[in-house]
């Protein structure tokens, strides 16, 4: 079947198998930041944005995104590097396999929530598993990033 989709701002037209998942589609299109960590929608590694909202690409058929906008970390390189620098300064990326999905969700959170509390941060990101870091360094990075953004807004 035919699929028309906007991927990272570029219009795509592809012939796909009807059962193909969005995760497999975006990787086939070279968006290798999107990873698969489970088959049960538990880990958050495959997080992409669909019309600007974070979704798990492992459980969305590619056919369902017809005509819509899909964003992966490949389309958010500047923002990824900006927040990623804070994560790197804590050593919180570690193996880095979960980082793209986690960062997609962090960037979505920053757009969606104004000045989130620690509790809100933990809740928003609870679906992003990480086995290396123990999460504390990620929390430190997010808090430092939010403070930096707040400072930017105040100027």
């Amino acid at each position: 079947m035919k699929l028309n989709v906007w991927l990272n701002g570029k219009k795509m037209q592809d012939e796909i198998e009807p059962g193909m998942m969005l995760l497999d589609y975006v990787r086939q299109k070279g968006c290798y930041s999107v990873k698969c960590g489970c088959e049960t929608s538990n880990c958050g590694l495959c997080t992409v944005w669909l019309d600007g909202k974070p979704v798990l690409s492992c459980t969305i058929p590619a056919a369902r995104v017809e005509g819509r906008h899909v964003t992966t970390l490949e389309g958010l390189q500047e923002e990824a590097a900006e927040f990623g620098g804070f994560l790197a300064d804590e050593g919180g990326e570690q193996c880095g396999f979960c980082s793209p999905g986690f960062i997609m969700n962090v960037l979505a959170m920053v757009r969606e929530l104004n000045d989130p509390t620690e509790e809100e941060i933990l809740e928003y990101l609870s679906g992003n598993l990480c086995r290396c870091s123990g999460y504390m360094s990620q929390l430190r990075a997010i808090k430092a990033f939010l403070a930096y953004k707040k400072g930017e807004r105040a100027v």
């Binding site: 290798y32 960590g37 970390l73 193996c95 609870s126 598993l129």
Partner: protein
């Protein structure tokens, strides 16, 4: 020190956080054959017949292999230095199936759909046998897991396949029975730790191809490139010279990838078809057929005087290696060797063990490697002893803990040259406000808060076994290329080793390019496991830099026409000690060294160690238990770790926090559960619950450094010791809250309620 002990960013950090394609499946060629495994539905069976003719007709199928198609030499998948202590008990495919998930056939095809379709039409008839699913019933059972005649134990580890024994041993120091009989108080209890999955986010995966010279190239997510080369040579029956193993970035390992879980399958497909092939384990496969922590049942007898002096420790470990013996004979050793030495005043100890085969998935190496299990048992027993003595468990440890300068009879009689264990205890006691909070506080709303404590140790590499090597060369314009055989799996060793080199060579960190690990290019390294990289390979970096500086001075002597003894190298210049005007820049020297010279500016140095200096840790947990529901909430976890000099305090801290989170998972949530047929019920992240960020409460880590004289810049290891305290500390905190001893992990609300008499 400009870089060592500084929190510099990892060299690969920005590539990782911007999602660059650096992992195995990001770089595998698109034309790879897809390899999958048809797996046994039975815990114990023989294949009576297997028919693949219909499956071979599925369009796109290239190759289907059964036990009839593979070499008949047994081997081990354990990544260990030759001669491997783990028995040679595996075939690539075996008609004797030993657990639910044991491979029955290897299927390779052009698409995943074709492979899936073919797997469904392979016809297999099984003779189903009775399985052994209880580690207590395995030894001398009439059912034999490995009756085969070509089963081999390479090392004298007390193995006997006719008794289902993968290993056994008994070590006694002093008259243990007499001392125990003479003690005022003796605690004797049995503790049970379950299998746990490393659950690294990137599952097992490998791709293989034949290169220009028809050599087998293996690109794998592994911690052990050089051991994988040997394992593949053994398994495929081809010379090592025909194999190259390379690791890309690795999405976590934690020991899981110290076993060659996935490599042999695409390798044999590529050898048979001459085509590139890849296997990506699903999470399901990574849960049911991988290399989890050894389940252990540990019986402790510990005796003390009324004044609290601990005089004798007897520890018996029964370890479950599962269907195959990977890491079976070695993990068990740490359950005694890295728990008993925590107590420095014992007059006698005994450590004895049996490691048994069962019809569960093979166990393997998981962070802590047996020490975690032994420390849960011994530290829990010490907490019970404190209770019997009516003594503060912190005080009991303070008066018994091993001290710097002591010999450790239960730790290969090594001399303890560095320890801040006492300072760790004092620090965490303060962090937790122990004196105020011990043992518990009733919160007045049906909830009680309790606190608990535990100590831990580990090693730094395997003494007299592990080797780390480093090659450094000076390139044009004077930048350095450092090639290592150690495997950065997210830990940051590419960066920490470069930090050491930058300080040794007095240069900018960016002036050192790091590459590893590639068996064709890297100098030999036993691999990144056993907490060895910082200490062993770090030592090799220092040696290599010293040798390289000598070469640079020699080249400077040639170019400046001055004797070497009169020259100094300050990182930027080779300069005369007598006349500062006589000098040459490293850049000019490097460029000059590329012609008309006999002095290659490249060195390789290896490093092994006769000792394995232990890092130490103290952890304290505060939990809140709901007395109505048994729900346990971890409120606070405070810990201090002595890893010697932290090479990179950020990365050391994150190692500690990450290890604690895994330890918290082990203590409260994680459990590999089988049903009565030996089917694994915890086969996804739905059932096997690793902690999410809302589950771990507040984790606080402080680095309390000693200085290890034999380590690089005073460093010891950090990677494994950090997982060892949560289980005993949390169990202790729960006991102090509701007076229920949980001696079998994980500590669940159900277990508490049952003991509190709330179930009918």
């Amino acid at each position: 020190m400009t870089y060592v002990n500084q929190p510099v960013r990892k060299k690969d950090a920005m590539a990782l956080v911007t999602g660059q394609p650096v992992f195995m499946d990001d770089i595998a060629p698109k034309e790879c054959l897809i390899v999958k495994l048809l797996r046994s539905p039975y815990a114990h069976a023989w294949i009576r017949s297997i028919k693949t003719d219909i499956a071979m007709k599925v369009p796109g199928i290239e190759c289907i292999l059964t036990y009839k198609d593979v070499p008949q030499n047994r081997f081990t998948l354990a990544g260990q230095t030759y001669p491997e202590p783990s028995p040679y008990d595996r075939l690539i495919l075996d008609p004797h199936l030993r657990f639910v998930g044991d491979p029955v056939a290897i299927v390779a095809g052009q698409t995943e759909e074709a492979v899936d379709r073919a797997m469904k039409v392979i016809k297999v008839e099984y003779d189903v046998l009775e399985p052994i699913l209880d580690l207590r019933k395995a030894k001398d059972n009439e059912i034999l897991i490995h009756p085969e005649e070509n089963w081999i134990a390479n090392c004298p580890v007390g193995a006997d396949n006719q008794r289902n024994l993968c290993a056994s041993g008994d070590q006694i120091e002093g008259d243990i029975e007499a001392v125990l009989a003479d003690c005022d108080v003796v605690v004797e209890e049995t503790y049970h730790t379950k299998a746990n999955q490393q659950a690294m986010m990137e599952t097992f995966r490998t791709y293989t191809y034949l290169d220009t010279y028809q050599r087998l190239n293996v690109i794998s997510s592994t911690q052990i490139t050089f051991h994988v080369r040997r394992i593949l040579s053994n398994a495929l029956g081809i010379p090592k010279s025909q194999i190259r193993v390379v690791k890309p970035r690795i999405g976590g390992g934690f020991g899981a990838k110290q076993t060659a879980v996935s490599e042999v399958y695409p390798a044999i497909v590529t050898m048979k078809t001459k085509k590139p092939a890849k296997i990506i384990f699903s999470r399901y496969e990574s849960q049911i057929a991988s290399s989890p922590r050894h389940e252990m049942e540990i019986t402790v007898r510990i005796g003390a005087n009324k004044d609290g002096k601990i005089r004798a420790i007897d520890l018996y470990t029964l370890s479950n290696t599962g269907a195959y013996g990977e890491h079976g004979p070695t993990t068990v050793g740490l359950s005694g060797h890295k728990s008993i030495p925590l107590y420095g005043k014992t007059e006698a100890f005994r450590f004895h063990y049996d490691v048994v085969y069962t019809n569960m998935m093979s166990a393997g190496a998981y962070r802590g490697y047996g020490a975690t299990q032994g420390i849960f048992a011994l530290e829990s027993a010490v907490n019970e002893l404190a209770d019997k003595l009516n003594m503060d468990p912190v005080y009991l440890r303070e008066i018994n803990m091993v001290q710097q300068g002591q010999r450790m009879p239960a730790y290969y009689n090594e001399l303890l040259q560095s320890s801040a264990l006492d300072r760790c205890m004092a620090r965490v006691k303060k962090m937790m406000n122990w004196d105020e909070k011990f043992p518990c506080r009733d919160m007045g709303n049906g909830k009680v808060r309790g606190v608990g404590v535990a100590m831990a140790m580990q090693g730094s590499g395997i003494s007299n076994v592990d080797v780390g090597s480093v090659t450094i060369k000076v390139n044009d314009d004077g930048f350095y290329a450092m090639t290592i055989g150690a495997a950065d799996m997210g830990t940051g060793c590419d960066t920490t080793l470069a930090q050491i080199a930058a300080d040794c060579l007095s240069c900018d960190l960016d002036n050192i390019v790091v590459y590893g690990s590639d068996t064709d290019v890297s100098p030999y390294d036993s691999g990144s496991y056993a907490s060895s990289t910082a200490y062993i390979t770090g030592g090799a970096v220092i040696k290599a830099c010293d040798s390289l500086k000598k070469r640079i001075l020699k080249e400077g002597s040639r170019l400046l026409e001055l004797p070497e003894e009169e020259l100094d190298f300050d990182g930027a210049y080779v300069v005369s000690l007598h006349n500062p005007d006589k000098k040459i820049t490293l850049k000019d020297l490097a460029n000059e060294s590329l012609h008309t010279t006999n002095n290659a500016l490249q060195v390789t140095e290896s490093n092994y160690s006769k000792t394995s200096p232990p890092p130490f840790m103290v952890g304290m947990a505060e939990v809140e238990v709901d007395t109505e529901t048994g729900a346990i909430e971890l409120i606070d976890y405070a810990a201090a770790v002595d890893c010697g000099t932290p090479l990179n305090p950020n990365l050391a801290r994150v190692q500690a926090e990450g290890g604690l989170a895994q330890g918290i998972g082990m203590a409260l949530y994680e459990d590999v559960i089988y049903n009565q047929k030996g089917q694994n019920l915890t086969n996804s992240f739905m059932q096997y619950k690793i902690p999410c960020r809302q589950d771990i409460g507040k984790v606080r880590v402080e680095l309390e450094s000693s200085y290890e004289p034999t380590g690089p810049f005073g460093a010891k290891s950090i990677g494994e010791v950090v997982i060892n305290t949560p289980s005993p500390a949390i169990a202790h905190a729960v006991y102090n809250a509701v007076k229920v001893r949980v001696r079998e992990l994980p500590i669940t609300p159900e277990k508490l309620l049952k003991e509190m008499g709330k179930f009918a």
